[in-house]
């Protein structure tokens, strides 16, 4: 089955679902599997079911059914005295099988023929039509043959009605629809019949394609409407016509009315369900209305509340208007472009991307992931501009503090922002409109209203020159940052981390795709790197000050170190020539922290810095040529500084000799007797508890513990103990930065002097 065809089916089903035929919609999942090749396997599957008891009975029933079908095919034998009984018996057989297992397409073909040919009485025809329940599919030919009987005039009006009702319900089971579509004119003519009209309308609603919409049909429908008044079924068909040819017809649907066709098809509904369940096993999900009113957005009449995202509508109207002269045939024959309403799947998007009819209001893409894909890859500027204008204006218009004291409105705005953020996450790309919106709104923001949404918008600011954006955004953000609670500070750091990550991802993609970046303001890699490093320095400043304001809160420090976990890996993870170290205020706060997990995180970050710098050094040596991005020796020196301090504290028990220098006299004055040892892995305040539990584990009966006893071999065991406690960062750090010879406590620092 080609995807094209499947697309049509899906479309037809969707259209149905606009009416109230819920079960047709839910069958769609099944229908997709109904490829001719698969249909067998489904029925086989049914046989394979462990329903052995039934099997024998089924065989018998099968024979009886064949006989019954044969009987009906031959027609009633006039001479037979007990003919009443015979047809009654056979009809019972057919009904039993049909309601239980459904009928095969050949059987339906024959019986449908019988029912409409008028060989039997009206009652028989009715009962027969009622039990035309397909086990798998209905062949198109059967339907065409059946329709041809309608012209002969052998069947009564009620049979015709029943047939049309049946056809509507079974529409999705018909294997192909090309031939049936050729009968469009015939069906359309049947609209004349007042009793048939609603059902024919429904059928046409399912059947109509763009090429079926003709001016003379529009006129006919309008005449009918004039004659019969505002009928829901006519409205349905008219609105569908309008979808296809908006220039021919103008219809506005009443806001409340969403049900076009009465759901009077319960007749077959339960039977179809039973058959489906029998043939397929019980369906996993309960039947439910899939496309409820939620999908039908009521037209917002009130001008001022015309708020959220517009509904899809293909833009054919606009295009038509662009022409100087427009003939009706012109606009009907434009079959080349692919209507938006039919776009259901990604492959369809790929196939039709060159001839997609864009929505008349670009804002509607926000609700359609397929179109978001399109927006993402299209380089057609008007498309992006239309979206930009719409989003900018809507954001400004909707922004909550222009309309204060309105809780409902506030919620709506929050939802709108959430939708935008979802779209940005989906595209992994920020919108310029949102950036422009932040320029205007961030200076006025109280830091409370829609906090989570605002901070997420910040993290999706498209990459640009930091120094240019700083006065517009980040300076205002800093003011809020310093004056707000610790939780706000943490959320800001979190979103800045995400911003950094988004920028890095974008740059790493961009640089490796084309030599010159597409960014508006930076044209060189150096400029881009500069911008990123400025962002990192900005966060460094925020963090340092925040640590002081929040008196070295561990909680805050976690968020800060999370940020640097991203920073330390830029060179290796994103393949971008940038290594920026953390400021001393952060490093020493972390090193002297009372929390082991902080120290562990610090170790991990140092380990990653080490790896990145080594990799950078290696690359420089390989390339030989002095590239633009060789790191200054200052970075290496700074790193060595930190490394020496860390190893001095944690490992060699010689703190504050290199790295940061503290006058020994001051240290003496602290009154700590053995200050040199007091920061190593054993005595460090954050590790002390580990040391004690390690010793207790070694010798549980000991009443006093002497942590200084952890020396020599014990030192090694102690380290293993630490590693086993989940301090992976420490493990990596010690493995990479401390060379341990067989002699424990060796001073095996890789001094990195070669940097």
């Amino acid at each position: 089955m080609s995807s094209q065809k499947r697309g049509k089916n899906v479309q037809a089903q969707n259209r149905t679902s606009q009416g109230s035929n819920s079960f047709q919609t839910t069958l769609s999942a099944w229908k997709v599997k109904q490829d001719p090749s698969n249909s067998k396997s489904i029925s086989k599957h049914g046989e394979d079911n462990p329903v052995g008891d039934y099997e024998h009975a089924d065989d018998q029933a099968e024979d009886a059914l064949q006989m019954a079908v044969g009987y009906f095919e031959k027609g009633p034998i006039k001479t037979s005295r007990n003919k009443d009984k015979t047809w009654e018996k056979h009809l019972k057989t057919v009904e039993n099988v049909a309601w239980k297992n459904g009928l095969a397409s050949e059987e339906i073909d024959i019986l449908l023929n019988v029912a409409l040919s008028g060989k039997f009485g009206n009652a028989v025809n009715t009962r027969m039509l009622k039990c035309m329940i397909p086990a798998t599919v209905i062949s198109e030919d059967s339907v065409v043959k059946a329709v041809s009987w309608l012209c002969v005039g052998k069947c009564s009006g009620s049979t015709k009605v029943l047939f049309y009702r049946w056809l509507v319900v079974m529409f999705d089971f018909i294997d192909r629809k090309e031939q049936i579509n050729l009968l469009y004119g015939f069906f359309f003519a049947s609209l004349q019949d007042d009793t048939l009209c609603p059902y024919v309308c429904h059928l046409l609603y399912l059947l109509t394609k763009k090429e079926n919409v003709k001016p003379f049909r529009v006129r006919k429908l309008l005449d009918l409407q004039a004659k019969m008044g505002m009928q829901p079924h006519l409205q349905a068909l008219l609105s569908l016509y309008k979808f296809f040819a908006p220039t021919l017809i103008s219809v506005s649907l009443p806001v409340r009315k969403k049900i076009y066709f009465k759901n009077s098809e319960n007749l077959w509904k339960t039977a179809l369900l039973t058959v489906k369940q029998r043939n397929q096993g019980p369906s996993l999900e309960p039947l439910k209305l899939m496309l409820g009113p939620a999908n039908v957005r009521p037209l917002k009449r009130k001008w001022s509340s015309l708020s959220v995202i517009p509904v899809h509508n293909s833009s054919s109207c606009t295009k038509e208007c662009g022409k100087k002269e427009m003939s009706l045939s012109d606009c009907l024959n434009r079959s080349r472009s692919f209507p938006l309403e039919q776009l259901q799947s990604f492959p369809q998007l790929l196939q039709n991307i060159h001839c997609l009819e864009l929505p008349s209001q670009m804002g509607s893409v926000l609700n359609n992931s397929l179109l978001l894909h399109y927006i993402n890859c299209v380089r057609d500027e008007p498309v992006l501009l239309r979206f930009y204008y719409w989003l900018s204006q809507t954001l400004q218009e909707e922004c909550i503090w222009y309309k204060v004291n309105n809780y409902e409105h506030g919620k709506e705005f929050t939802n709108f922002l959430d939708t935008i953020i979802r779209a940005e996450c989906f595209l992994q790309e920020g919108f310029y409109s949102c950036e422009a919106f932040l320029y205007k709104s961030l200076p006025l923001w109280d830091g409370l209203c829609c906090r989570s949404q605002f901070l997420q918008l910040v993290s999706w600011i498209p990459f640009s020159s930091f120094s240019e954006v700083k006065p517009l955004l980040f300076d205002h953000l800093a003011q809020l940052f310093f004056t707000s609670t610790i939780y706000f500070k943490c959320s800001v750091l979190q979103s800045l981390k995400e911003l950094l990550q988004n920028w890095l991802l974008w740059l790493s993609m961009d640089i490796h795709m084309k030599p010159v970046t597409n960014s508006p303001l930076e044209t060189t890699l150096g400029g881009s790197m500069n911008s990123v490093s400025e962002l990192i320095h900005y966060v460094g400043c925020l963090s340092t000050t925040a640590m002081r304001l929040e008196s070295n809160s561990t909680f805050l420090l976690h968020f800060i170190l999370d940020f640097y976990e991203k920073v330390c890996d830029i060179y290796i993870n994103y393949n971008l020539p940038l290594v920026v170290l953390f400021p001393p205020g952060i490093f020493y706060s972390a090193l002297l922290s009372l929390d082991a997990s902080i120290l562990n995180q610090l170790c991990f970050i140092m380990h990653r810095y080490h790896k990145n710098l080594t990799a950078a050094k290696k690359n420089e040596l390989v390339q030989k040529t002095k590239s633009e991005f060789s790191f200054s020796s200052k970075t290496y020196q700074e790193f060595n500084h930190y490394l020496t301090s860390m190893v001095g504290c944690l490992w060699t028990s010689k703190p504050f000799e290199k790295g940061i220098y503290i006058d020994p006299e001051i240290l003496e004055n602290t009154g700590v007797a053995e200050y040199k040892k007091s920061l190593n892995v054993v005595h460090h305040p954050s590790f002390l508890s580990y040391a004690v539990s390690f010793l207790l584990q070694e010798s549980p009966e000991e009443r006093t513990v002497n942590v200084s006893s952890i020396q020599g071999k014990k030192w090694s065991w102690y380290l293993d103990y630490l590693f086993s406690q989940g301090l992976q960062g420490l493990k990596l750090f010690i493995r990479s930065s401390v060379h341990r010879s067989s002699v424990t406590r060796a001073e095996g620092i890789n001094c990195n002097n070669q940097y």
Binding site: K302, C317, Y432
Partner: protein, 331 residues
Amino acid sequence: MDSYDASESTPRQSTSSRPEDYFIGATFLQKRLESVRKQTSFIPTPPRRKIPHCSQLQEDVDPQKVAFLLHKQWTLYSLTPLYKFSYCNLKEYSRLLNAFIVAEKQKGLAVEVGEDLNIKVIFSTLLGIKGTQKDPEAFLVQILSKSQLPSENREGKVLWTGWFCCIFGDSVLETVSEDFTCLPLFLANGAESNTAIIGTWFQKTFDCYFSPLAINAFNLSWMAAMWTACKMDHYVATTEFLWSVPCSPQSLDISYAIHPEDAKALWDSVHKTPGEVTQEEVDLFMDCLYSHFHRHFKIHLSATRLIRVSTSVASAHTDGKIKVSLNNLVK
């Protein structure tokens, strides 16, 4: 697709497309962003404004049409650029909008496009209503009721009027590509429900977005100063200011009416350089009014909010309603 041909001959095209635009690397979207940045980072309003010499307006303006715009209260909306709008298709737009309005009014009934109905929509250009040569032409949309009796006045009653214009839109026009027509100001007069229907049609057809345009107190005081400055042979109305005091349970409005000649005299004493108005002059003008009021009533008006200004020339309300009474459209 085909509409490219059509739009090539639009007046806007011939005036505003500059070939060099297409060769600059930056896209319009980027230009737009940069201009937003500039607007945000600098002071929003220039400290001084030149009074233009009404150049375009006098030349090719249709006095009858301008007269039509006067003495009406207009509600202001700001509008994003219209996508694929073409001045060649005004007739077609009339037809489509007509059908749309009829359909909206008879909710649920479908109507054939072009069907004869008892309203009439007319699109027409408003020549000359623009600031510079580059500004696109303004255009007018009118909804007329067709009278049932042929003997009566054939034109019928005007039900609703709206017009779109762009005056001194240089900074905006730079960032708009040729697929768009930039008419950032929309003025409507008539039932709000009609504005809603017509606005909806424009939004659907040209993918634009309307939003109500409020005039803040800052701009109102500018208007007050500049309208006071206008030379008049005779004044038809007093110069009146309205301040709102936010207090509960009901807000209190303070109305302050001055004889227009007194106001003019005050302005003349404040105003220094001919041909331009500065921020200081406007501030001083308002401060004088404030201190005068304070001397008599001991109320600091500067602590309240200016919500309406009306002069013989024009009047404006903070909620975006404006009315021009004189044949002088300079704001």
